[in-house]
Symmetry: D2
Subunit: 340 residues, 4 copies
């Protein structure tokens, strides 16, 4: 880490910083600048973040600049080759194939979920998505069918052959969800629910980790690190839009996060254009753009009857629109040198 | 709700919207505009938010504008007079007295928490804050002393006479925290952890709900509504800074949220200048400003030795600085016509 | 416009609003709701925005919701077919061909600009970009070669055959820039410099209007409207990143703005991945993504020697990298059904 | 500046960086870290920002961290004592007196501006504000009375005795505005209109520089530096709200900018709660908060008839409300140990 001293810091202040650095096990290097001194402290500050705060609190210190990235297991410095996360015997994410997860926001009925499963399968989707436990902004909104919904999902898997991705909202119900799901999804509002991250880190199922609405890329990788540090290295990251001042779309899909993440981590990265834009009119364009930016997959909302959906109707595609999107998507996966 | 039709929407599309509105139990009023039609739908859309989404998904509809606020129990329309939340026999929040909660970010040792408790009590604080369960961005950071920390908190309460506010991070450990705490704190990263909100809504302790880093004021009130709709109406709101592009402070303390909230809700509102600014240099100025803006209280980090704190040292005041702040604060509570 | 009255607004207050609406030439429609009244006012509020503010200031009014979009000339409601902006006899923007503008951030020397012009021409670029007048955050940074730079640009046009796009920073120097440039660029910091917009609106050259760093899509269209309302309808919009909390990239490229703009306006839309990301590592991925999202063109920084550039070196591609990007770009323009 | 090399950077890459640093006149210090090397370069990088970009563009370099603040004349390192800006013989800003500027957003008529001037004077305001040149988002909105408005302002000054602050929107009309105004205001949309900043830097009148809507505090000081580097050191900074995701207020008043600025610069800082909140209901609370946070003054919109204002009616106070605000404000200036 680099410690920038204040211009005019007292000699005694500098000495105390040097003593503290040595006491903490670092080797200090003083650089005498034109207006202030800078102290380099050599050592691995990653596991002792508190050190940075402690030194920043000292008299005469203006700021402390960390040099190492705070994540390890998620970083390319620790594992250079891309991770390919195995979902089933025949399906993995992070390889050359682009993976599409499609389905309704919420499971509403047996008919709805099975019809959708078959329709998205026919259109070429690789996984079925659908929420049984729904985190909703309002307590008066539909909160999901819960375990009954999981059972319907299982039926839809049987009917369509598609593996399942569904959300976990609570450490308590994580085990039951894990019995049914092929991928456990952590939603945007729980992306820093560390108790939940630790819980899924102890389960043996791949985890789809959505970026929090106001989370930096760095923090997303720290949340992945939480899961990985508990032993579960099967983490798939998902860019789903960040909160900005723009209101024309529900959130702002940050597609540059894809190449940035590709440079920092070996984990696969997918995009969710449905939640990001909140409007089915923009889903196709942003799906193509995500693939062109290097995404390993997509998560897309499809509902047989968006006008009667219990949640997120405006952003859901009909099966017909989804099928048209998949056809055009192939042109872009080809351009990107990947299969669909 | 108001439904804005697209310019040039087909007659059939308008009729379908009208039919749908009636089917949902609303009374439609059509206004023929110069370029497009607008339909007013009279009825209480609050408990059926899905209706808005459903209609927004219909052909020929450009947008749907809700008229009613989505919260009820938290709103001033339902309860006009200010709520005064009773903490102990002699202490309540939301009355004419400004309440100050002070203490360390994390409990680190018996000595640390008891010393701090006595010092902040002497300086005039009304509650002791201190985290036993710590949500930290990094899995490698200190995660709190957990139940052992709660026991130390209880000792500090005994030693100082100050009631306690401490964080709940998980529905599973909420009951044990509630055994010790006088106020249950929901942290910024859990402000939309709806399972946790429902859990504390079923407990009989006042809840301090911190605004999420990227939460609108509307969403904060919806999270309060979650707690209240489970039966617990003792909710105190806390503005603690929102995430913006500015990096000179850790977050941007949104003090205008205070008069906005005062106009919308009967619940008390406090501010946390320590987490908002992330820098002890700015805590006093923002404490005074929060009171001038109308806050009912403050939450301030105090640590006997910030340079050796296990978390958030740079934003912690020493007991001496805190004591000086409290003296000056009295001038501002006087100006605001309140006691301290 | 729709006027939402406060719950419990007095009868007199409602009557005054109705009188005011009629006085302003609108036809009012009252809808009696369950908790409050809503008044629809029929008429074209677009040219009298002040009306909305005036009514919002009245007693008993909670909010006013405008129905019409505030722009006209830029809107698809006024002109449905896509505009194709003619640059030279053989080049236009907004048709089926994707147009690439490439070159250095700033013109530094005759050698630099001519070499770059020839190199980007060979790689397939359609226009040469290069700044003679440079708006820089610091007064101590290089401010551009000014008219001398324009003359070098003209030489580079002659040497390469590429038309020129260059920035205008001031109404005073706009005429001289217009003598040399084929397209006048309005930079992000001047996107709401209305005096400058009016000035280029009176010139006879196409204008490339960059989105301001914190401008909504709506405001971008209003700035286009400023230019168009002065008579110049040859406006090309450019998404170049918005300011958000994320710091991994210099700005956040808002690619969903492209399909949103395509739905609202007939004007062409291009993207600038160099300024948006601020890092040459991410330029190729975001170029491909912009085309997949539907952009009509790209603006890319190329410098023969980024390490010695006077500005924006870290985001500049070498001619070799640019050439590789163009080759791969063709795969994506093909996928999008467009020529390059 | 500190140069962080990539983990595994080649020896040759390091040598090239060292050579470049020396060539640029800096003295390099290499610190060999556990995973990567860090190079400290001693010298004044402030006037050669391009150096940082150039080195960041080199092979093997991961990032470059500047150590010095990019501003000089505005910084406390160059001038430690607070600047008191002289407006007239009897009025200055930045001393112990809190200064209030009040008046309408736009000048509309002789009657309006003179009545307002007299009313705000009676209530205790120190300056009259009023716009003759109005930068408006829509070309169809009222653009101000221009020179005719300036003449009316002058009459209002004569009638009330209050000095004038009014906006400059264009280098061309700056001289004429300077003939009438006592303070030249640079609006939020022109805060990085560098040509305009340089122009007012060459005039002999104090400048009120508003923070741009998406400007960092650092950038605001760089814009002040533009004005100061041309010779005009009479700059007053104004916090007027930044653009965030929150929509309950028009912008988010960033009051922590006040103590941050007070720590960085000797220039006075005032706040504009009217434009920040966009709602007269919140102006008083935010005025008190700004003073408590340490502001040297306020700019407040007052209109004799907000319902008939040509702009910004919803945020304007009536003279009666303003007078009530001023009375209460005195309690807070007293608490802050200042006069009003």
């Amino acid at each position: 880490m680099i410690i920038v001293m204040r211009a005019g810091a007292a000699k005694r202040e500098k000495e105390e910083v040097l003593d503290r650095i040595k006491e903490l096990g670092y080797k200090p290097h003083v650089i005498h600048g034109t207006t202030r001194d800078v102290i380099g402290a050599v050592g691995d500050e990653r596991e002792k973040r508190v050190v940075i705060d402690a030194i920043a609190s000292m008299q005469g210190v203006e700021s402390v600049v960390p040099i190492l990235k705070p994540y390890k297991l998620a970083s390319k410095e620790v594992k250079r080759e891309k991770s390919e996360i195995r979902i089933t015997d025949s399906l993995s994410i992070g390889g050359s194939r682009v993976i599409v997860m499609a389905g309704p926001c919420a499971i509403e009925s047996e008919k709805q979920i099975i019809e959708t499963a078959i329709a998205v399968k026919e259109a070429g989707a690789h996984l079925l998505r659908g929420g049984a436990y729904k985190p909703r902004t309002s307590p008066y909104s539909f909160q999901g069918m819960k375990e009954k919904g999981l059972k319907l999902l299982a039926k839809a898997r049987k009917a369509s052959g598609l593996p399942l991705v569904t959300e976990v909202v609570n450490p308590e119900s994580a085990d039951i969800v894990a019995e049914y799901a092929d991928i456990l999804q952590i939603g945007t509002r729980n992306a820093q629910n560390f108790e939940l991250l630790k819980k899924v880190g102890r389960l043996k199922k791949p985890v789809l980790l959505k970026r929090g609405m106001s989370m930096t890329i760095n923090e997303l990788l720290m949340s992945a690190e939480y899961i990985m540090s508990e032993g579960n290295h099967s983490v798939i990251l998902c860019e789903r839009g960040i909160r900005t001042f723009e209101t024309a779309t529900r959130n702002t899909l940050d597609l540059s996060a894809i190449p940035v993440l590709k440079g920092e981590t070996h984990l696969p990265v997918i995009a969710d254009p449905s939640h990001a834009t909140g409007n089915q009119k923009y889903v196709a364009a942003m799906s193509f753009a995500a693939i062109a930016a290097g995404a390993d997959g997509l998560m897309i909302e499809v509902h047989p009857d968006p006008e009667h959906a219990t949640s997120d109707g405006p952003q859901s595609l009909t099966p017909k629109d989804f099928s048209a999107l998949m056809k055009k998507l192939r042109l872009f996966t080809d351009a990107a040198g990947r299969e669909l």
